[in-house]
């Protein structure tokens, strides 16, 4: 399995120095990007396409907190199992249901201010969860515990996408 952190010369950790990641990404892209090989032979163009694709994929995975955490846990042999393991604490599920009801109401009333509010609440929740994940993975090395937190973050991520769709419906 690829280690996406290694690709960028970074130490695997949930807390990420975004500037270092971006800099490494650009340094690599400046060597491998297809624009550097527009006039090269087929062999080099193919190698360039493969490398760039791989670098873009790795960047995507590391930039997004959910996929970054999932990748880290996989490196430590823990499968987050989003699809099968959906048993979540009841109070969390209750809160999710309330949030979704609020979202539906805002959509029906075409109220973009409530959507703004929902989104900023969600961002706060996400930030708290991300701190907890960083503590679990980087600090306590509690990977099983982290998997539960990542599943929660995944729920919030889905809600975030639904808010996006709601904005489109409201406009």
């Amino acid at each position: 399995m690829h280690n996406h952190f290694e690709l960028f010369g970074l130490t695997p950790a949930f807390s990420l120095e975004k500037d270092l990641l971006e800099k490494a990404y650009r340094d690599i892209q400046s060597k491998v990007h297809p624009d550097r090989f527009a006039h090269a032979g087929d062999a080099e163009r193919r190698a360039s396409l493969q490398w760039t694709t791989r670098v873009n994929e790795a960047l995507q995975i590391l930039k997004n907190p959910v996929t970054r955490a999932k990748h880290l846990l996989e490196l430590h042999g823990v499968d987050v199992a989003f699809e099968t393991n959906t048993a979540m604490p009841p109070e969390f599920l209750m809160q999710q249901m309330e949030l979704r009801e609020a979202l539906e109401e805002a959509t029906e009333k075409k109220n973009s201010q409530s959507l703004d509010r929902l989104r900023s609440d969600l961002r706060r929740e996400e930030a708290i969860l991300e701190e907890q994940i960083a503590d679990a993975i980087d600090g306590r090395k509690d990977y099983q515990g982290a998997a539960g937190l990542v599943r929660k973050l995944m729920f919030l991520d889905r809600l975030d996408q639904e808010i996006d769709l709601a904005y489109e419906a409201v406009e």
Binding site: F8, G9, L20, K23, A24, R26, D27, I28, Q29, S30, K31, V32, H33, P34, D35, A38, H39, A40, G41, D42, A43, E44, R46, A47, S48, L49, W51, T52, T53, N56, E57, L59, Q60, D164, Y167, E168, E171
Partner: protein, 620 residues
């Protein structure tokens, strides 16, 4: 890693070392070609000094074709054979085309892409566009006195895969080596960014003749990064003309019009629209074929009222792009205006209101895209030394996915992914002993397949019979730097592999392109053999140069026998270059490409290793 530039101090590389490369803005209304000469980008005018080429093609009996101003002059007399705004039909089926009823053409509903019956036969939009591109190529070759080494052709950022593929095919058909398809707002951002040393978050508002794009970019030194893009590929200045035309028909209580009168009033409407940018009132007068005289006055207030919904339609994509980028309007440092339609005062006002700042109009909105494309072509041609070039990171505008059970779309590559991008997904059989699977590739954001654009269908056969759910079929989507998709599928649970590559169904097969090329050369009285020979020689020379400098830089990555094999393939190609057999040159070039495969991969790995080593030292 840098190529060796051997020249005396103060002496620039000899002119013949510069490759001739152009940027082409293939617009709905007008097209342009530009190039970089002595370090600055200029639009190349025609023999009469006119920079724009109206994107109008007229077919005459006997295969003669008029392009540009001569075709424009005759459009009202010969509307059925004079194709305007062909870009609206690129990669589109008849059902996708807006205002079909108002277009005076004899449409033929062909599978994949609509076609038009003319006096010179049935023409696809790809062929019509290639006529425009051919005129621009000839203009450039005459002006630069040489065969073009390559061209960058711009497309609306919101063009889907079908529209992009059609544009690339048109380029090939016009005899161009298409170095890259470049998104129009990105091209504009390059021109603006370099001209103004701009850094920070910028938006590009590009309202052309037939398309609307809104792109958000992060500019920093040496990097142009598209963060998000949105738009409407069925909205442009043409629609404003159309609104005005409908208003005229209504106000003057005109009966249904014939093609000639329709085209006449459309042209008059466009002129009135353009006049309203500078005057508070404008007149539309025309004598119809019935003898009736139309004479109407329209003021800016009325024009704004009847086009208000069109202006409003650009707001949605602006909000969406900002949301996708995770930004608010205040975080945008400047809004670059592109496209002739942005001259309309109501557009300027709407943009200023939305972003709460005056839009940037300091570049000619008609030329900025071609100029940016020329700058990018110069980089892709390798004419710029390292350090003076830049990195361009663009995205796909629409999600790519596959149809699953129940007519639902499963997104494989989400919109605004940086390209090149690839993503794989596993699928399995749902019946015992199933030996085939069919796939339907779609593009769009909607959940239902029927609301998305269908790109291709293909089947994977020869799966060994297994229990339901046991087969593992891995479907891989690969989007290249042009934003073009290829899909492959592979069954590998039993070690039995079968794979297939699809080219989306609307695309022309390479054989079609070759046939059309041959036909077009017959019309142009150009010798197809000598052109092919010239192209293969340029290509072969290019490959030799690239391999030579690669060896010079990294020969240490090769074993002696490997280096010898490459040198042998080089010698083989070199000995054929002066000959007359273009196929033999092609074969030798292919052999050299094949011989350098491992070398290329190793060089790339080495490049990455060095890049990272540099970073670590730098950050200590």
């Amino acid at each position: 890693m840098a190529l060796l530039q051997i020249s005396e101090p103060g002496q620039s590389p000899a002119p013949h070392e510069q490759r001739l490369a152009v940027g082409i803005d293939l617009g709905t209304t007008n097209s342009l070609v530009a190039t970089v000469r002595n370090g600055s980008a200029t639009v190349l005018p025609d023999a009469l000094g006119r920079p724009l080429l109206p994107s109008i093609v007229r077919y005459l009996p006997g295969g003669k074709v008029e392009v540009g101003y001569p075709a424009q002059a005759r459009q009202a007399d010969d509307p059925k054979n004079t194709i305007v705004s062909v870009k609206r039909f690129m990669g589109r089926g008849l059902r996708d085309v807006a205002h079909v009823e108002a277009a005076p053409y004899d449409f033929v509903d062909a599978p994949g892409m609509v076609q038009i019956r003319t006096v010179a036969g049935v023409k696809s939009p790809v062929e019509v566009s290639s006529e425009i591109l051919r005129v621009l190529r000839e203009r450039a070759e005459l002006s630069l006195q040489g065969t073009l080494s390559g061209a960058v052709i711009t497309v609306p950022a919101y063009f889907d895969d079908a529209q992009r593929q059609a544009t690339k095919d048109a380029g090939k058909l016009a005899g161009l080596n298409v170095l890259r398809l470049l998104n129009e707002p990105t091209a504009a951002a390059i021109a603006y960014g370099l001209d103004n040393a701009a850094e920070g978050i910028y938006a590009v508002y590009d309202l052309g003749g037939g398309t609307f794009d809104l792109s958000i970019l992060k500019l920093s030194k040496g990097v142009f990064e598209v963060v998000a893009t949105s738009g409407d590929s069925m909205l442009g200045g043409d629609d404003f003309d159309q609104r005005l035309f409908c208003w005229v028909v209504e106000e003057a209580k005109l009966p249904p019009l014939g093609p000639r009168d329709m085209r006449l009033l459309q042209v008059k409407s466009r002129e009135a629209k353009e006049a309203l940018t500078f005057h508070s009132e404008s007149r539309i007068n025309a004598r119809l074929s019935s003898g009736e005289f139309v004479d109407l006055a329209i003021d800016t207030e009325t024009f704004c009222r009847i086009t208000q919904t069109l202006v409003h339609r650009t707001l949605g994509p602006m909000r969406k792009a900002l949301r996708d980028a995770g930004l608010t309007p205040d975080e945008v440092k400047g809004v670059v205006m592109v496209g002739g339609a942005t001259r309309m005062p109501q557009i300027q006002r709407a943009v200023a209101e939305f972003f709460r700042r005056d839009p940037l109009n300091n570049l000619d909105p008609d030329k900025v895209v071609a100029v940016g494309a020329a700058m990018q072509a110069d980089v892709l041609a390798g004419n710029k030394p390292q350090g003076e070039d830049w990195l361009l990171l663009d995205v796909i505008p629409l999600s790519l996915g596959i149809e699953t059970m129940g007519g639902l779309t499963e997104k494989i590559i989400p919109r605004n992914s940086t390209i090149p991008a690839a993503r794989a997904q596993e699928f399995t059989t749902f019946k015992d002993g199933q030996t085939g699977m069919s796939f339907h590739v779609v593009q769009g954001e909607r959940e239902l397949v029927s609301d998305c654009r269908s790109l291709a269908r293909f089947e994977l056969k020869g799966i060994p019979p297994m229990a339901a759910g046991a087969a593992r079929v891995r479907v891989t989507f690969q989007v290249d730097a042009d934003g073009l998709l290829s899909v492959s599928a592979k069954e590998n649970s039993t070690g039995v592999e079968s794979s297939i590559s699809v080219k989306p169904s609307y695309g022309l097969a390479d054989a079609d392109i070759e046939r059309m090329l041959r036909e077009s050369f017959q019309h142009a009285k150009e010798d197809v053999h000598s052109r092919a020979l010239a192209e293969q020689r340029v290509e072969g020379q290019r490959l030799l140069e690239a391999t030579r400098s690669a060896l010079q830089a990294d020969k240490n990555l090769l074993r002696a026998d490997e280096a010898a094999a490459i040198e042998k393939a080089m010698a083989g190609l070199e000995s054929l270059l002066s000959g007359k057999d273009h196929r033999a040159i092609k074969r030798a070039a292919d052999a050299l490409n094949h011989a350098t495969e491992d070398f290329a991969a190793r060089r790339m790995d080495e490049g990455v290793r060095r890049a990272l080593a540099g970073r670590k030292i730098g950050s200590l």
